[in-house]
């Protein structure tokens, strides 16, 4: 009887706007939800951010993380019924690395080369990396969403869209670009516990997630994935429940230390001191964020909790400005691109700075390209080191905000963003003590060494304030109470919380 009930169940979820075809080689942000539904990866990222076995049941790094061996399951099948084999896995990764295919995900495969992918036997695949990478499993997990396993020989370009022959939880029934995609439950999926109960899932695209709210309220939708905290809060708990995903990424606001008006660290600190982070998080974000303390170390378990948290202190900020010789403030342009949270954050900075006389002009790029340019994962080659500030380029702007996605470890942030010679260092800070602390972190083996290094980095960050990180976001999904036991991972894949199973 339960199956006849579930026959009728349809789950409707709001999907992000599609930015391109939902094809493995071509996809950009908006198609995430679709791929997450039909695809299966070597490894799944669970809603809590941990890695969970999927096609790969086991993985292991050797050679200090230069070689990785994955054991795959043999009971997985593509939607067309063919079994998923080691050849398919090898083909998939290699196809992304083939420059002819112009895969958007190639750049994220790091130090993996086509030749380095070796099929050991029907159940084992080995990756011989050109360099040590302790975090390699993350690169082939579902967070690198283009890397869903394709059938050997199938193309991952727009022709893929018509069949969507993945091995994931949901089978595509119909797909209309920019409108909606309908899926049915995959009866052959290998891990039944992870699929929620309903038979059909529809992803309906909305211009913005907020635009979907009315539909959610009238029952035309069951769920919205990734909602602004405040808007989520406003939905009554009697009708909806919320699930959250914490992220360690977020908005990084850099200030150039080499040229322009922010070269004086007292000025940078003053700016940091104008921000009332708690009030912002509580008020604007509906509490869905964690206070951050201007360094990337805060959200990791190694963080030194004794480093004092920065708080709003206008008097001190004014003093600092006076000391720096600009007691009455100055004018400066803050650059980034247009997105709801950035919009709000820039307004926050603007109104906070006004209290100490700093007049911030906000200049946000409204185009899609803008996002790509300010997003640290930009696929475009960035021109590093322009000495002309405010050119509307991430690495040239005097005062700008870029987004960094969450990382399982802070290494990449430190090496590329915080280290003085880092290729994506937008602040151009050249502070020996910070570089030293970062080097110490990179060579730290024990927890204690790591803690010490982290503490040093945190303190140096507060001294120089090259980058302001005010909060780490917690992402919220809202689902109607009529649909039980649903949650999402960071990529928008629907997971069963297991509570109804």
């Amino acid at each position: 009887s339960s199956s006849s009930e579930s026959d009728k169940t349809v789950f409707r979820v709001a999907a992000q706007e599609q930015e391109g075809p939902a094809a493995p080689w071509m996809t950009k942000g908006g198609s995430l939800g679709i791929l997450s539904a039909v695809g299966a990866w070597l490894i799944d990222v669970a809603p809590d951010g941990t890695l969970k076995p999927s096609i790969a049941t086991k993985w292991e790094g050797t050679d200090a993380g230069k070689t990785w061996t994955f054991t795959i399951r043999t009971d997985a099948k593509f939607h067309d019924g063919t079994p998923l084999t080691a050849d398919d896995v090898v083909y998939t990764i290699q196809s992304h690395l083939n420059p002819d295919n112009k895969s958007q995900s190639a750049g994220r495969l790091g130090d993996c080369t086509s030749e380095g992918i070796v099929k050991v036997d029907e159940k084992t695949i080995r990756f011989d990396l050109s360099r040590v990478n302790a975090n390699f499993p993350y690169l082939v997990a579902s967070s690198n969403y283009g890397l869903l396993i394709m059938k050997n020989g199938e193309k991952g370009d727009e022709s893929w869209v018509t069949k969507m022959n993945g091995a994931g939880r949901w089978i595509m029934v119909s797909h209309t670009m920019n409108e909606k995609t309908v899926f049915k439950r995959n009866p052959d999926y290998f891990d039944k516990k992870r699929i929620p109960e309903f038979e059909t899932m529809e992803q309906i695209q909305f211009v913005s997630q907020s635009a979907a709210i009315p539909a959610l309220k009238t029952g035309e939708l069951d769920s919205i994935h990734l909602l602004n905290g405040l808007e989520a809060e406003a939905l009554p708990e009697s009708d909806f429940y919320r699930t959250t995903v914490a992220t360690c990424g977020g908005l990084h606001m850099h200030m150039r230390c080499d040229i322009g008006q922010l070269t004086d660290k007292r000025v940078r600190e003053a700016i940091a001191l104008t921000l009332d982070r708690e009030a912002y998080i509580k008020g604007v974000m509906g509490g869905y964020a964690l206070v951050a303390n201007d360094s990337v170390m805060d959200s990791f378990p190694t963080a030194d909790k004794k480093v004092p948290q920065r708080k709003k202190d206008i008097a001190r900020a004014k003093e600092l400005l006076a000391e720096a010789g600009v007691p009455n403030g100055f004018k400066v342009t803050l650059q980034s691109w247009k997105r709801d949270d950035i919009d709000k954050f820039t307004q926050f900075v603007k109104s906070s700075c006004k209290e100490v006389g700093i007049d911030v002009t906000v200049d946000l790029d409204g185009s899609d390209g803008g996002g790509a340019r300010w997003y640290a994962y930009s696929v475009f080659p960035s021109v590093k080191g322009s000495k002309v500030p405010n050119k509307g380029e991430w690495l040239a702007s005097e005062f700008g905000i870029a987004e960094w996605a969450g990382r399982p470890t802070p290494d990449e942030y430190l090496a590329r963003e915080w280290f003085s010679s880092g290729d994506w260092n937008p602040a151009y800070l050249d502070a020996p003590e910070l570089d030293e602390a970062i080097t110490a972190w990179q060579s730290a083996l024990t927890e204690k060494e790591k803690k010490n290094a982290s503490s040093a980095i945190q303190k140096a960050s507060l001294v120089h304030t090259p980058i302001i990180i005010a909060y780490n976001e917690i992402r919220v999904s809202v689902t109607s109470n009529k649909v039980k036991g649903v949650e999402f991972n960071a990529q928008g894949a629907v997971w069963s919380t297991g509570k109804n199973a």
Partner: protein, 287 residues
């Protein structure tokens, strides 16, 4: 003399019309609303209660109260103050855009209507082509092509897009006027074309132009608001009404209606007031 009487009649006629205008409810309402907004545009900082960027994180999205008359938005800013201060942007931009459109349009219309012939034919084709693309769309195209939205660009675009309408109206009026014999009379005293156009014909099409101006002004407000709602009108973070609505409207589903409603009402009230005024003028002066 009876001619004296006729002179007096004309004078009483004007005062009678003005008296009618004063009695016209629509006009009074329209003029008062517009006067309020023009005052806000000029002295906004005096009428506003808080700075446009002042944010109170203690009261995010709080409903209207004595402290925040129109409530606060999702960044904790005072909606009342932002609506007041925002008036300047929309009024100045719409006015300048309309002025630009009226100026270019009137010049082209005068020339086309008077010179006729090939010039007229070619110009009218081009203007027809421009007006075949809706204002909003051509503005979006320009914003995309230039690469960024800004108030100057919005003024230029709306001004240019209004040119065909103004030109066509003026041209029609000029075509009618240049048939009139005073133009022949001017030629018969060896006047130059420029003199005939600007000193003889232009003053006579001025009333038409003024009416067209008010109509266009109303539509400029419409267009500026829509463009900024679509995120293609003005610089980001500007307190103009369209942007405010765009930033906040999705919250009305969460019962946070005030940050959307008040700027919407402001747009509506300015647009309606201009419409009421031009309508009353049309009626009282029987144009």
């Amino acid at each position: 003399m009876t001619d004296e009487t006729s002179k007096q009649t004309k004078q009483t006629e004007l005062s009678e019309r003005l008296a009618l205008l004063k009695k016209n409810k629509a006009f009074i309402i329209g003029a008062s609303i517009l006067a309020f907004w023009v005052f806000s545009a000029i002295f906004g900082k005096l009428v506003a209660r808080y700075d446009q960027d002042f944010a109170d994180y203690e009261s995010i999205s709080s409903s209207p109260s004595l402290k925040y008359w129109f409530g606060t938005d999702s960044s904790g800013r005072d909606v009342y103050s932002r609506v007041i201060i925002g008036s300047r942007i929309i009024i100045v931009i719409s006015f300048l855009a309309t002025l630009l459109g009226a100026f270019i349009g009137a010049s082209l219309g005068l020339a086309a209507g008077y010179l006729k012939g090939r010039f007229d034919m070619v110009l009218m084709r081009i203007l027809e082509a421009i007006s075949a693309i809706p204002v909003i769309i051509i503005a979006l195209l320009a914003v995309a092509a230039i690469g960024r939205a800004s108030s100057i660009i919005t003024i230029l675009i709306i001004g240019l897009i209004f040119t065909p309408n103004v030109a066509r109206t003026v041209r029609a009026a000029v075509l009618g006027e240049s048939e009139l014999e005073y133009v022949a009379a001017a030629k018969l005293r060896t006047e130059k074309t420029a003199h005939i156009l600007f000193r003889e014909v232009l003053p006579n099409v001025l009333p038409t132009l003024i009416v067209e101006f008010t109509v266009r002004l109303g539509y400029a407000i419409f267009a500026v608001a829509t463009l900024s709602f679509l995120g293609a009108g003005l610089e980001a973070g500007s307190p103009d009404w369209g942007t405010q609505v765009a930033d906040t409207w999705s919250l009305i589903f969460s019962k946070i209606w005030w940050p959307t409603l008040f700027p919407s009402l402001a747009i509506a009230s300015v647009a309606v007031s201009i419409n009421l005024i031009s309508d009353a003028l049309l009626e009282v002066f029987e144009l």
